[in-house]
């Protein structure tokens, strides 16, 4: 694999003014800001492909201070997006991390400049497979190059360059967002003061790859997928995508959480139907999760982003020695896992912490007791929030950040 080039000078550097991208002609017109990376300075992907032009859609909250030292980059998960603390433009729901991002909250927008970009390959404004291929004028579909977590981070680094931010105060994210955090800390150590990888791993496990493959096969088995060219055919593989979402959603919860929420309770009926309707509340819930997901997510994006997670293996990229990914790092790490998370279990975080210790990194590591499974990082978990708040305050003190 090609390694990222952290060199920010030369042709990588972009001019200062953001422009509204003209690339994305097929997508709905999402609110928010856009960076257009011109074809003249393409992204060099790990696959070797040069991709350009590329649009990066992003949201910001709060104000960047004079010396640009208070920026926090939030990295979103597989099906997340840049609308961290905004009403979602499609679903109308609150932002996905409004529990901790906002004025007076943990990621206090009165103190910090919060930045979040839709990942490369995504479907909320950043270039992805549903966008027009400038070479043909038609949607990329499967002609979009396979991207990696490293490529996502590289696109974000262009955005951070563009905003004139030399060093991020903090990079934080859960799940796939946590993978990006680790990639940032490894590829751009001098640009990350503090890193908070939450409910994540340094590599995608065989079990997780297996779950992703189930999801991808569900999409590709839908006749409306049309070999990825469903936009041209005027169809939508919404059934396959919904099944993919349903299967994945189970992995985000825990048996305890499912049992507490639904048990074996029946859905709007007093007895079993002796048929295949959604007899059980848990079935009805999953069907709902599947059907609402297809309204906001692109099936091909799901293929590309799950693939990027599968390919992520920071240890293999460093000769099988994970500590090598962090040699000499001065970044302050706070690694967080949750007891009931079986998608990214604590053992993965512990292996990461051991590697960080071996690299003599400054690291905090907490395992939070929760029965809410992987999704706990998105939910109201007071212990997690108190730890995160303490870590950020400590880091801000060391960074010399002054708040009014």
């Amino acid at each position: 694999m090609l390694r990222l080039n952290p060199n920010r000078s030369g042709p990588e550097t972009l001019s200062a003014n953001p422009r509204i991208a003209a690339v994305d002609t097929t997508a709905p017109d999402f609110p928010g800001r856009r960076l257009e990376i011109p074809a003249s300075a393409p992204l060099r992907l790990e696959s070797g492909v040069e991709l350009g032009p590329v649009t990066v859609a992003y949201q910001t909250y709060g104000t960047l201070n004079a010396d640009k030292s208070n920026a926090i980059l939030v990295c979103h998960a597989l099906t997340g997006d840049q609308f961290v603390a905004d009403t979602h433009p499609i679903t109308g729901k609150p932002g996905w991390w409004e529990t901790i991002v906002g004025p007076g909250k943990l990621l206090d927008t009165d103190r910090y400049f919060i930045l979040c970009a839709n990942v490369l390959g995504g479907c909320m404004g950043t270039s992805g497979p549903k966008d027009a291929n400038p070479a043909t004028g038609k949607p990329y579909g499967l002609d979009f190059p396979v991207i990696t977590v490293g490529d996502m981070v590289r696109a974000q680094a262009r955005l951070v360059d563009h905003l004139g931010i030399d060093k991020l105060f903090c990079v934080i994210g859960g799940s796939m967002g946590g993978m990006q955090v680790l990639e940032w800390a490894s590829a751009y150590p001098e640009r990350v003061f503090a890193a908070v990888p939450v409910a994540t791993s340094y590599r995608h496990s065989a079990q997780n790859i297996a779950f992703h493959e189930v999801g991808r096969q569900a999409i590709m088995a839908d006749p409306d997928w049309r070999g990825g060219a469903y936009q041209l055919a005027g169809t939508s593989p919404h059934r396959g995508l919904a099944v993919a979402r349903m299967a994945a959603h189970i992995t985000y919860l825990s048996e305890t959480a499912l049992h507490r929420k639904f048990g074996r309770r029946l859905q709007n009926r007093a007895q079993l139907s002796y048929g295949f309707d959604a007899d059980f509340q848990v079935e009805s819930y999953l069907r709902h999760q599947g059907s609402t997901f297809v309204d906001r997510f692109d099936a091909n994006s799901y293929l590309y982003i799950t693939r990027a997670m599968d390919y992520f293996d920071l240890q293999a990229e460093h000769g099988g020695v994970l500590a090598e990914a962090f040699t000499g790092t001065k970044t302050r790490f706070c690694v967080v896992s949750f007891t009931s998370d079986w998608l990214f279990p604590t053992s993965e975080s512990r292996a990461l912490v051991h590697a960080l210790n071996a690299a003599a990194a400054n690291v905090s590591f907490v395992e939070i007791v929760s029965d809410k499974g992987h999704d706990a990082f998105l939910l109201d978990e007071p212990e997690f929030h108190s730890v995160l708040g303490g870590f950020l305050n400590g880091a801000a003190e060391h960074r010399g950040l002054k708040f009014r």
């Binding site: 051991h354 400054n362 690291v363 905090s364 590591f365 907490v366 730890v387 303490g390 003190e397």
Partner: protein, 218 residues
């Protein structure tokens, strides 16, 4: 290796709560601005004091999740981990001091732990309750039962202290490991230095705790 970095002025100005006398005895041995690993750091009292009063790059390991969460929530760099299993990951000579305060007797393999301490740090500071102190000896002699004292307050069947030793035992282990004793003091029940020469017969008889500074034999 990361440098400890400057202590923020705001932090220096913040008044710290006083710390336990025995922790203070340890803190007094630490040079300012050094790198310290406190193994079994509990609620982080010593780390917090060292970080703010001596500008130390202070890190901790704590086995209880409650302790770890309390430490991180106050901005300390602490990981959940176990002295018996998690010291092997740390690079050789990565720290100036490794502190093991009142924890050695609760480890599964004190010999291996002691070896790791002097490997990962230039100096290891180890304190432990002295099972050779006169009143412990007297209790065993007169009652014929396992002694229960103020500092060793649990019954034999529920104590976490599975590898108790005397000061002389500890000195013997250091010899067997080829570890140099740079300095040794004994503390009274309150954790105050007793001013006795250690190692020595009187120290082993009168000291409630041993406090040792160890280095690898050059």
């Amino acid at each position: 290796m990361s440098d400890p970095g400057p202590v923020p002025a705001a932090a220096q100005g913040r008044p710290r709560a006083s710390i336990r006398v025995d922790l203070r005895a340890i803190a007094d041995m630490i040079e300012p601005g050094t790198r310290v690993l406190d193994i079994g750091c509990g609620d982080g009292a010593l780390l917090d004091w060292l970080a703010h009063e001596k500008g130390v790059d202070a890190r901790g390991i704590e086995i209880s999740q409650q302790g770890v969460n309390a430490c991180v929530a106050q901005g300390l760099s602490v990981v959940q981990g176990d002295a018996d299993t998690d010291l092997k990951d740390y690079p050789t000579g990565g720290f100036d001091y490794a502190i093991l305060s009142q924890t050695l007797q609760a480890t599964w393999d004190p010999k291996a732990v002691l070896g790791e301490l002097v490997r990962i740090a230039r100096r290891a500071i180890v304190s432990f309750p002295n099972f050779g102190v006169w009143h412990v000896r007297l209790k065993l002699l007169t009652t014929g039962r396992m002694p229960v004292t103020d500092s060793l307050s649990a019954q034999w069947y529920e104590t976490p202290n599975i590898h108790l030793c005397t000061i002389d035992d500890f000195v013997g282990l250091c010899g067997a490991l080829g570890v140099t004793i740079e300095s040794a003091t004994v503390l009274d029940a309150a954790g105050r230095p007793k001013g006795l020469k250690a190692p020595g017969r009187l120290a082993n008889l009168l000291g409630e705790q041993g406090l040792f500074v160890l280095t690898r034999r050059a």
